[in-house]
């Protein structure tokens, strides 16, 4: 039920926010882009059960790929998305071959390490990436040759919303498909999946690669809309925040990822506007609160309330 309604409600909310906050389109677009990143994480973590703290590696790879492609080859946005998706996928595939051999802490650590290596490479390859100054000078052509990126960010908003909707639809189909079912199977019982003849390792590599592609698309969106790629794209903080948004919303249900992103970004906006230095207090407390009091995320709140209501009615 919620699975059917929630995506449309969120879409309607996005449109409503567009009209409600016409001067904050950059912020709203940022939310849409983060939602794509968090969705990629939901595929990898929520469905395939791979605990990663390095999703920024693929986001950054996509961002730099899209930026460099636009500067040196072709400034068409859609082509840039494709290139970035491929870049994210290739990096995820290669690193996944190593990372997914490990488990538990070592796996988590390796995912962090992959992002750290990327960060360092981008930092050192100053001639190509602009190093710590960031990659500048990205000028995009109109989307589909029709819609010019404008100053206020209207095109950017609709463009990002369209990509988010496409990614959401793709993932919805994917999770209902045999592939998605097998990922849930692996998440629940890897031994059993092996016992029914599945190569769990390759299935996970595939999910990780797809997640990398989607994260790459998110990075490309960011590069194209903001016309800037910074080293922060590879940062641990970005990976950690994406993870927090996902857990805040609730894993394994795509709309939870979007909801979590939305709430987190608004809290961030509000807290950072009030006192940027104390933002880390807010996020730290938020994370602890979620882990202890809301382990299944916001999407579980209605069920929890219902159960509470039922108990009260019963007593």
């Amino acid at each position: 039920m919620m699975n059917r309604i929630a995506p449309f409600a969120l879409l309607a909310l996005a449109v409503a926010l567009y009209f409600a906050l016409p001067y904050n389109l950059a912020f709203l677009t940022r939310i849409l882009i983060m939602a794509v990143l968090v969705l990629s994480l939901d595929l990898v973590l929520g469905f395939a059960g791979i605990a990663t703290l390095g999703q920024a590696a693929f986001y950054g790879a996509g961002a730099y790929a899209a930026g460099l492609f636009a500067i040196h080859a072709w400034a068409d946005p859609i082509a840039g998305l494709v290139v970035a998706g491929v870049a994210g996928a290739v990096l995820a595939f290669i690193s996944g071959l190593i990372v997914l051999r490990a488990h538990g802490l070592t796996l988590i650590m390796l995912t962090i390490a992959v992002a750290a290596i990327c960060h360092e490479i981008a930092n050192k390859a100053r001639d190509v990436t602009g190093g710590a100054d960031g990659l500048r000078g990205i000028r995009m052509e109109p989307v589909l040759g029709l819609f010019e990126f404008d100053f206020v960010g209207q095109t950017g908003f609709w463009y990002a919303l369209a990509v988010l909707a496409a990614v959401f639809t793709f993932l919805t189909l994917l999770t209902r498909a045999p592939f998605g079912l097998s990922l849930r199977g692996i998440h629940e019982s890897p031994e059993r999946m092996a016992a029914i003849g599945t190569s769990v390792y390759w299935r996970r590599v595939a999910a990780y690669t797809l997640g990398g592609a989607i994260a790459g698309v998110a990075g490309a969106l960011s590069a194209q809309v903001t016309q800037l790629v910074s080293l922060e794209s590879f940062s641990f903080t970005l990976s950690a925040e994406a993870l927090i948004m996902l857990i805040l919303g609730g894993t394994g249900r795509l709309y939870g990822a979007v909801l979590g992103t939305l709430v987190f970004m608004f809290v961030h906006h509000w807290a950072a506007a009030n006192d940027p230095f104390n933002w880390l207090f807010v996020i730290g407390a938020l994370v602890l609160a979620v882990v202890f009091f809301l382990p299944r995320g916001l999407v579980a709140v209605p069920t929890a309330l219902k159960r509470l209501g039922g108990q009260n009615a019963g007593s």
Partner: protein
């Protein structure tokens, strides 16, 4: 030779020998039971045959082909499947989804990304047939975690059969099932396809004597003796060691 042919199979964990020089055959249509006290090495033997554990020495042939180098998934594809001693079902999925998964994998559709998992007529027909065969219809759309233990055991059996195995190893199919429900398991085993090769590992002697035509007794990793249920029941050594003596728990 058709079926499973094990020769000189041994397994050591460090200094501990858990399987020692085991020779064992299982042909299509066989109904064999493997019994023995706790820690005799029964589960280890089944893990060696299914490729979960690598043997220390010995050969395993299936239909005359050496399968010793194949991993678990590859052996499943050849037709060797086992149920687990403790159920490792997909607890958060429904019964139907639990059965759909192995069928999709067997049909090689596991990587399909743009079709609905429940959209294939052939797959769904097989799912329905299994649900029918195990009388699971009323439970088909419940989560496995919400089923009674005996029912979970049935799903476990149905799931393994969904792999269309030619050799089926049942590791304690009745473990943990209340006695009021064991008849369900017995019925399910009796209804298995006649040409399937079945090996049952079980402590419940009533069940063993009802379904097995041949019994192999394993003690401390070695085969003590092998025979029909009558022969085993009459064997004094077995009585001492296992049946009559200190019992199995």
């Amino acid at each position: 030779m058709q079926g499973l042919e094990v020769r000189g199979l041994s397994k050591k964990f460090g200094g501990l020998t858990v399987s020692e020089n085991i020779d064992f055959d299982l042909k299509p249509g066989d109904r064999k039971a493997l019994i023995g006290p706790n820690g005799a090495g029964k589960s280890t033997f089944s893990n060696l045959v299914t490729g979960i554990l690598p043997p220390s020495s010995g050969t395993i042939r299936f239909d005359g082909v050496d399968i010793g180098k194949l991993n678990e998934a590859q052996r499943v594809k050849r037709g060797i499947a086992k149920t687990f001693q403790i159920t490792t079902l997909f607890r958060d999925l429904t019964v139907r989804e639990n059965l759909r998964l192995p069928i999709l994998e067997r049909q090689g559709r596991g990587f399909a990304m743009f079709r609905r998992a429940d959209g294939n007529g052939e797959t769904e027909a097989e799912v329905a047939a299994l649900i029918d065969a195990f009388a699971l219809e009323p439970l088909a759309d419940k989560r496995v975690a919400d089923l009674a233990y005996g029912q979970q055991r049935l799903v476990e059996l149905a799931l393994t059969l969904a792999l269309k195995p030619r050799v089926l190893i049942l590791d304690e199919p009745a473990a943990g099932v209340p006695s009021s429900e064991t008849h369900l398991i017995v019925q399910a085993i009796e209804a298995l396809p006649p040409d399937l090769a079945v090996l049952i590992i079980e402590h419940d002697m009533d069940l063993v004597f009802r379904v097995a035509a041949q019994i192999v007794v394993l003690v401390q990793g070695r085969i003590l003796t092998e025979g029909t249920p009558q022969e085993i029941a009459a064997n004094a050594q077995v009585r001492d060691l296992y049946l009559g003596g200190h019992g199995h728990d």
